[in-house]
Structures are given as C-alpha cells and as structure tokens.
C-alpha cells in the first residue's frame, strides 16, 4: 500500500473541498471495497477523504411512503433498524445477509452503491424497489444509476448522501452466495411496489444488476413462484469463475427468483 494523505472532514463542504483538492483523491466510507484493492496495489489514491465525521449521513427515516437510508449507514445498522424491519423487511433481511459480521459492521450502503460491484447485494435491492440515489447535488433513479460493472453516473467529486426506498406492498431477496467470498453468485430481489412488480438480479451478469422483464410481466399476471419457474435467462454475458460458470449462474437466477417470490408470501 502506498502512502496517502488522510482527510477527516466534519462537513459535506469540507469533504467536497478535499475531494476537489487533489487529483488522485478518493472518498472512503467503510473501506471494505477500497482497502483490499489498495493493499494489493490495484488502487493507489493520493488522498483518502473519509465521510465518517460528516454529520447527518447515517440516519434512517420513515417518510411515509418511503424510507430514506443515510449513505454512511452500515449494513448492520440497516439490518437492525426497526424502521427498515417494519416498513421494508426484505431490505433489512438482505442487509443482514451481506458478507459476514465484520463486513456488516463497517461496510456502508453508500459505499456499496457508489462502488457498484457486480456481485454486491444492494444494487438488486435498489433496482427492484425502485430506489432513488440522493447525492450532494441531485437525485438519480436506480435504473439510471447502475450502469454496468463498477460504472455509475457519479462525478468524480460527487458524494452519495442517501438512498430513498419506496415502501413496497411485498418484497423478498433470495441469494445464492459464493461459498468462499459470500458475494452473490445470483441474488434476486423481487418487489411489488408503486411501479408494479420488479425483478432485479445481481451477481450473475458481467454488466452488473439487471431486470428480468419476462419475469416481471409473468408476475404481474400471476404473483406466484410457478409463474417464474419456467422462465430462464440467457447465459450470454453471465459471469464465470471457479465457483459458478455462466450456465449455472443463469440457472440459479430462475431458482432464486422462484424462492424470492415464495418468500414474499
């Protein structure tokens, strides 16, 4: 790991100033994606700007028809939040299944969505629930936010401040985890929300999170596991590694979709 300058701003403005102050500056939240790649010298930012001391970024609020989760909320915080558990239990359950206890106590929702790892869980939740990503300057719908593996529309000096989730009438997440890393091999969030039924898949595709239109249409007609059991997704463009090849991943998408629908009750 190379030397870097560490910034601990106490306001969003200070954070933005620090971010703009150095060309190689990177934001750090929980650090669970950034630090491992820095240790391997795959990333070598000149400056790290921590959001840990910026007030107001770790709140969870119930806004009636939506729940807003501050960007610096850890996965454990989301999993343990009475608000999230009460209004969107599927989101709390999903957060409770991320990585392991250490990861959940440090990793944050903001860091996860900004990183857009194709095997992260949050992108599926955001897309299926029709979430809005709130930044220091704008709001971006989830469908527009996740633009492919590690790609988002965020500007270099833009800070995610919160994620707003509309409350669905029912939702559930089913994940097949990589046995070693516990990242999603195929994670499917099914949500019946204000915009209808959405099915979003993470972990499986090289392009990151995607929706399965055929399943959404089938579920709109009949919200049952049987409705999606016969719908397969193509293995073209699916990720392939030692734990799961493309065909297996494609198969698991259908199985996890079915199980998510079942879990919606």
């Amino acid at each position: 790991m190379n030397d870097f300058t560490y910034h601990a701003p106490t306001s969003l403005d200070e954070a933005l100033a620090a971010l703009r102050g150095a060309e190689g500056a990177k934001l750090i939240a929980g650090g669970h994606s950034l630090l491992p790649v820095m240790k391997l010298n795959l990333a070598a930012p000149s400056d790290l700007v921590s959001l840990a001391g910026v007030p107001g970024l770790a709140d969870i609020s119930d806004d009636g028809d939506s729940v807003t989760v501050g960007a610096m909320c850890t996965h454990a915080q989301v999993a343990g939040s009475a608000t999230v558990q009460g209004r969107i239990p599927a989101l709390a359950a999903m957060a409770d299944g991320i990585g392991d206890a250490q990861v959940r106590n440090a990793g944050t929702i903001g860091g996860s969505v900004a990183h857009n790892d194709p095997a992260a869980d949050y992108p599926a939740a955001c897309v299926a629930l029709g979430a809005t990503i709130v930044t220091d300057r704008r709001e971006i719908g989830a469908d527009d936010f996740f633009q492919g593996m590690f790609m988002t529309p965020l500007a270099g000096d833009e800070v995610v401040t919160a994620v707003r989730f509309p409350v669905p009438s029912r939702a559930a997440y089913a994940k097949f985890a990589n046995p070693a890393s516990k990242y999603a091999v195929a994670g499917v969030m099914v949500a019946d929300g204000p915009d209808g039924v959405r099915v979003a898949v993470t972990g499986a595709s090289g392009d990151g999170v995607f929706r399965v239109g055929e399943m959404e249409a089938a579920l709109a007609g009949s919200f049952s596991a049987d409705a999606v059991a016969g719908i397969s997704v193509s293995s073209d463009g699916m990720l392939s590694d030692t734990a799961a090849g493309a065909d297996y991943r494609a198969h698991l998408v259908t199985v996890m979709a079915k199980r998510a629908v079942e879990a919606c009750g």
Partner: protein, 785 residues
C-alpha cells in the same frame, strides 16, 4: 498409572490456553530483535521462465534499502534438500534436481523465490522490491499432471525427461494379476484427489540473526520440527555445525504439515543475516502463502478390485499419478509412496495388493504433507471403490466391508505393514448404532417430502501413524531416523520440567505430556511444565507430524520418567536404609514393600541436589533423557458415517450428520482428543465439499485467495457425534496410536459416498471432490439428459 483429577484420562483444561486466549502467545512475528532489518521475498509472477537478467540497481538506491540479493549472490550455497530417496521399479533412483533457495537462471512456479530485498522497514523493502527489474523470458508451463505427461510437454527440469521424478511400485504384481484372472467380478474406478492449500492461521515467518562474537546463527521460524530444520539447513544448505546454529520454533499457529518442510526462505534469511551481520525478519503475507506454502494431495488414480462370487476381495490394483510440484519438498517424495501405497490393505484381508505411482514435476507450488499425507488419498480411493463394488454386486455396503474385515492380529498385509491390534467390527457396530444407520430410510423419505435428496455414506479405515521405526523407514529410503527424545528434569523442590523433541502448534502437548508426567510421578499437574521448540534447550527431536507426538514423543517421556523413578528408588533405598529391590513407587511416594516406611519424591529430589546423605557412587541430580525408536507404526482405525442432504435445484450439499467411531488407542485427554477429531473432520469435509486448489493452464493460481478458495466454516458443519472403542497399541507402553489425522483420513469418502447415495435415485453414480454445488448440479443435469 492411576487416573486422578488431572492424570491420564482426565479432560484437563489446556495449560496453553491462558496465553493463547488472552493474546499473550509469542509467535515468530511477535519477536523483534535489536537492530533488526526486514526482508521482502520477491517472487516470480510467472510459472515458468528463463531469467535473462536481474537489475537491482534501482531497488538498491531506494530509501532504507541495505541489500538486494539474488540467486547469483547465493551461488555456492547448498541446494534445499529432500528427505526421502525413492527408487523406481527398475531400481534407478528418483530424479533429484537442485533446488536453489533463490532461483538461478530459471523460475519454475509462480511464487518461486527470486530475490530478497532488505531494508529498514517492511514497507521500504516491499516498495523497493517493485523496483527490481527481472527479465523473465517466459516458457510454456505444465500446470497439471495431464499437461506434464503430454507429448511434447515443456520440461520443468532438463534432467527429468517427461517430467517424471520416479515410477514406483509396491506389492506383488504377479500375484495381483493372478487374482484378477480367476475373479468372478472386477470393479473399476477412476478418482481424483483434489489439490489443497493448507491455510494455517499463522502465516510462515522467520527472523535470522548472526552473532559475530560467537559465530552463532539463530533462526526463529514457524516450524513443526526445529531440529529437522537445523539438520537440513545446517548440514545440507549452509554447512553450519549444530553447535553454531540454533533453531527456535516458538508458538506456532497451526501447521497441518505445511510447516514440516525446510523452506527456501529459512536459508535465504539465515544466509542474509550472516552477510549483513544484523537480524533480518520476514513474515509471509497471506497472498504469498497461497503460492509458497507447500500444497497437499493432487493425485489422479485408476484402480480395480477383484472379488469372488460372494464379494470376498481377491486382489486390488492401483495406478496413481501424483503431482510433486516444481521442486522436491522435504517429505514430498514419500507422501505418495510409502505413506500411500502401503495403506491399500485397509482393514481388509485382500490377499494380493499392488500399487504403482508415477510422480511428476509441474510448474506449481511444491506438494508435501498435509494432514494425513498419503493416507487420506489411499483411504478415499479404497472406500470409494468398496462402495462401488457393493453397488455393482448388489450387496449391502456394510456387509461387504464386514465380510472382508481382518480379525486376527498381528496381521501381515501384502503391502509391507504389520497391524498389531484392532477391532474393526466393534467400531463398525458402534458407528452403525450411533448413527442410527438402520433408521436411515425414514429420514430419506422425510427429506424427500421437503424436496431434498438425502444420502448416507460410510467409510471403514485404518491409518499408519506414530511415524516411524527408523530401521524400517531407512530401508525404504528415509534419510533420517524417526525416533524421538524426551527429558524429564525433577527440580530440587519437586517441580518438573519436561523437554520434548516434538512440537506443539495446536495439539495441546503442554497439557497432555504434563498429564502423563504428573500421573506417573504423582506430582501436581501445575508443577509440570513442558518445554519444546528450541534446539538449544531440547536434546534432540524429529518434530510433530504423522500423528507421532504421543505414540513416539510421549513414549520417550514415559521412558525418561521410568529412568527418574529408577534413580529415585536408589536414593530412597539409601534414605530408608532398605534394599533397592524392596522399594516401590506409587502416587509420589517411595515405600519399602510391605511396610509403612516411605519417603516422598520431593524429599528424594532435594536429596539428589543436596547430596549430603547419598548413595555412594551415584551421580547427584534427578534428570533423565530417553530416546525412543518405535518398534512399528501404530494403526488407529475406525468407521465414519456421513449423512447429507442435497438440494437438487441448486446442487448444494448440506452435511446434516457426522458420526465417528474411532479407535485411537489410549486417550490421555478426552477433550483434546475431541478437538483433534473435530478439526480433522472439518478438514476432511472441507476437502470433500469445498476446498479446491485450481491452477490455470498457464500456471497461475485461480484460487489464490479467500475470495475463491473455500475453507470450511462452522456453519458448513453439523455437530459431530464422536464415539470411541479403544484397543491399545501393543508396542508402546502408553498404548497410544494417534488422533490428529483421523478426521481428514476417514471422513472424505464417507461424505462422497453419501452424496452419491443421495443422488443415485436421480441417476448419478459418480462424484469428484470437492462436490461443489455447481459440480453436483452439473452431474444431475447430465444424468437427467
């Protein structure tokens, strides 16, 4: 011997846990010496290449750098040796190419040591290593057995044509072939034994120091056998006499075999410390541990079993190809031969057994012992084959085993070993009962109602442990004896220090050995401390591996205690004015037989050190050393039963029950034995279902971190149902056999047999380890067409 609260047979809490659980363990990386520098080992990023040249000038100029050494600098230093000479079928010795500690002219695996960069700090050394410019002229790599034996394959060593190290055999081929000719049935099987990464929780580390005032070198290293390292490093690599080379293996955080070998880094560090006259420290990073700690297993085998019409085994023929990696590690050559081929009688009376093993060099990390070392590979093959025979002959899986069991002891196998004692029916019956084998079909039906395929599998096995009788292994090619030493020092006020040449890196020797000595001498358990891991403190030792510590090292201690008692009787006889023949020793007291006249061990010890009133001609002091060379291997045996549920939609395998019925000989501390069994079972289930070391064709490790290499976790394992039926080893006074490797030897075939049993209704008849969910799903897809 008498059981007391902390004696033999008591589940005493471990002495070592106080320091381990409170963070006060003292591991190699915890040690820092004044004036210490840090070494960073630069490793080859490619699997096979000629080195055109190495430019170290930029690294030398980097901040804090004291030295950069490459293979050229170490030319003239001895090759890293291997400990066992194997002869091929034709009588020729194995090909034994040199292994320079730092690569000279060529690198042979991704991870091969290329240079050491020494700097004031670890970070400076690592940063400067990035500036070493190595001209790698890449060559095609052979990353698997198949690639190594292919026509026109790249040559790892010019002196090993076809990449073959040796082509070995054991058993009577003629008799075995004849057995097949008259057989009513022949059952064949092909199996792969998957390559594993050992993954001790403490990465390897070393600190070397040279004292110019005494010409003495000291090496702190993460080793299971410090004296063995002194022998190999001193006598073979650096040419240092024993009295000028001290090896200290302090607390060591797990070994599993991967800390047996003498590693190149130990030689590099020690040599470098001598060059610089300052201590040099190195700690391996986990990412480098994956590509430099010796790996385990990696066999491809084909085997056939001849049976008569009733299912009696007539003959067994095994052909195995083994991957040795890029260089011959310390025990590399004997693991797939003398720790493998001679196990193929198993617990069965098969009259004719033949095993041939061809071993190959490849451009991969060297392969050496890993928990079980050869015996898991043999047991897996045999127990898969026996299960397959039962299915093909339409016989019951239990009965085919039972009707072939050995029941008369001692039993001479057709492959060299002579079993001294055992009761295989007893462990089988115990396991069947404890696992409710008879009630399984109801559980299968209940699981089916939940959409799960449930299966049950069994493995009946023996091990050869307590390694090993020196004369026997010497005749088979071992270059060292495999005896052990133990010293017992009774101090003037009666407390006791015990010195053992074995090494504890998780086994609990400090407790177990103290229990033996406390029990035998009748002194308080707290008054006995065990010292190990320092060649300057321990007379000699061969270390810990092959489940030998109790059977061999414990026996040496036992014999030393007996000598102490004998001497104590002489002193007591003098004090009690009786004849030595009349003195009896029990519970810490020397008594004149048939009287109430006695004196305590404490009084005798004090007298030994303050010999004012003392037997004429007897040396003062109360300290004895014994060397024990075992008369035979020990033969732990048992039956393991695994029950699994497979999710046919995803292929996930859930191990829902594991039952062990084991005969490990005398149990000193039941809690420690349970811990050893649990750890071994976790390890074995890991191999069966999760762990897989995969190389890409170019020799890059595809599973080189915990992102891709799956270790078993608590959530992957059921609560283990452990049972014992003990028969005592007949040739050591403790009756000890060994327990450290039982789980990793016995359980893998039981798990895979259970998976196949679960999937047979779906048309699946074979399964390769590890039975990952993807592999199981693919097998179901294939079977369903």
């Amino acid at each position: 011997m008498s059981a007391n609260g902390s004696g033999i047979g008591a589940s005493v809490k471990r002495k070592e846990d106080q320091r381990f659980l409170t963070g006060r363990g003292r591991y190699t990386d915890d040690i820092n010496l004044p004036g210490q520098l840090y070494g960073y080992i630069l490793r080859s990023p490619v699997a096979h290449a000629n080195i055109g040249g190495i430019d170290t000038s930029a690294a030398m100029a980097a901040p804090g750098v004291h030295a950069v050494f490459t293979g050229k600098d170490m030319e003239g230093v001895g090759s890293i040796p291997t400990g066992w000479l194997i002869h091929s079928k034709d009588g020729s010795p194995m090909v034994e190419p040199p292994h320079p500690a730092l690569a000279i002219g060529k690198v042979r695996y991704a991870g091969d040591c290329v240079a050491i960069v020494v700097a004031e700090t670890k970070r400076q050394a690592k940063a400067a290593a990035n500036l070493v410019d190595v001209d790698y002229q890449e060559l095609p790599a052979v990353a698997s057995i198949e690639a190594a034996e292919a026509d026109g394959a790249a040559q790892v060593f010019d002196e090993a044509p076809g990449n073959v190290c040796y082509d070995w055999e054991v058993g009577d081929k003629g008799a075995t072939d004849a057995a097949f000719e008259g057989a009513a049935h022949v059952v064949s099987i092909d199996v792969v034994n998957n390559r594993l990464v050992p993954n001790a929780i403490e990465p390897r580390a070393a600190i070397a120091n040279f004292d110019p005032a005494t010409d003495e070198y000291t090496l702190y290293t993460t080793s299971q056998n410090p004296h063995l390292i002194r022998l190999l490093l001193g006598a073979f690599v650096l040419g240092l006499p024993e009295h000028k080379l001290r090896i200290i293996a302090p607390d060591v955080g797990g070994g599993f075999g991967s800390k047996i070998p003498h590693y190149a880094e130990e030689a590099i560090l020690t040599w470098t410390a001598g060059q610089l006259g300052r201590p040099v420290k190195w700690t391996c990073e986990r990412i480098d541990a994956f590509k430099s700690d010796t790996h385990g297993r990696d066999h491809i085998s084909t085997a056939k079993l001849a049976l008569d019409a009733d299912g009696k085994f007539l003959g067994l023929h095994v052909s195995t190809k083994a991957n040795l990696g890029a260089y011959l590690s310390t025990f590399a050559t004997c693991v797939p031969t003398y720790l493998y081929g001679i196990l193929f009688a198993g617990p069965y009376t098969t009259p004719a057994v033949y095993c041939e093993v061809k071993s190959f060099f490849t451009n991969t990390v060297p392969v050496d012992a890993l928990r079980g070392a050869g015996r898991p590979e043999a047991t897996y093959l045999l127990e898969r084959l026996v299960d397959k025979a039962a299915v093909e002959l339409g016989m019951d899986r239990v009965e085919i085993r039972r009707q072939n069991f050995i029941r008369e002891f001692p039993y001479q196998t057709p492959v060299a070993l002579q079993y001294d004692q055992g009761d295989y029916d007893a462990t089988l019956d115990l396991a069947l009962d404890a696992s409710d084998w008879a009630g399984f079909e109801a559980r299968r039906a209940e699981a089916a109602a939940r959409g799960k395929c449930r299966g049950i599998g069994i493995s009946t096995f023996i091990e050869a442990c307590g390694i090993a009788p020196s004369a026997v292994v010497g005749s088979l090619g071992a270059r060292a004896g495999l005896y052990e030493s133990g010293s017992v020092r009774v101090h003037p006020t009666g407390s006791v220090s015990v010195f053992t040449g074995t090494h504890s890196h998780g086994q609990g020797h400090e407790t177990t050995f103290a229990q033996i000595v406390s029990d035998m001498l009748g002194v308080d358990f707290a008054a006995v401390d065990v010292v190990h891991g320092d060649s300057a403190k321990i007379p000699f030792g061969m270390g810990t591996y092959g489940s030998r510590s109790l059977a061999v090292g414990g026996t040496a201690i036992y014999l030393a205690v007996e000598k102490v008692i004998e001497k104590g009787k002489k002193i007591a006889a003098h004090l009690l004015e009786a004849s030595v023949e009349d003195i009896e020793f029990e519970n810490g007291s020397f008594t004149v037989a048939g009287t109430d006249r006695s004196t305590s061990l404490g009084d005798v010890a004090l007298t030994a050190y303050v010999p004012h009133n003392y037997p004429e001609g007897l040396e003062p002091g109360l300290e004895e050393t014994a060397f024990y060379d075992p008369l035979n291997f020990t033969f732990p045996a048992g039956t393991h039963v695994a029950e699994v549920e497979v999710d046919p939609e995803t292929g996930e395998v859930d191990v829902v029950a594991v039952t062990g019925a084991d005969d490990v000989g005398r149990i000193i501390n039941p809690m420690i034995v349970a811990g050893q069994l649990h750890g071994g079972l976790a390890h074995g289930i890991g191999q069966a279902l999760l762990e897989d070391c995969i190389y890409q064709d170019d020799g890059q490790l595809a599973t080189g971190s915990y992102l891709d290499y799956t270790m078993p976790r608590a959530a992957d394992l059921p609560s283990f149902n452990i049972n014992h039926n003990t028969t005592l080893c007949t040739h050591n006074p403790l009756g000890a056999k060994g327990v450290g490797e039982v789980g990793s030897i016995g359980i893998p075939p039981a798990v895979i047999n259970a998976v196949i049993d679960a999937l047979r209704p779906l048309g699946v008849n074979d399964m390769t380890m590890p039975a990952t969910s993807q592999r199981v799903w693919q097998a179901i897809q294939q079977a369903q067409g």
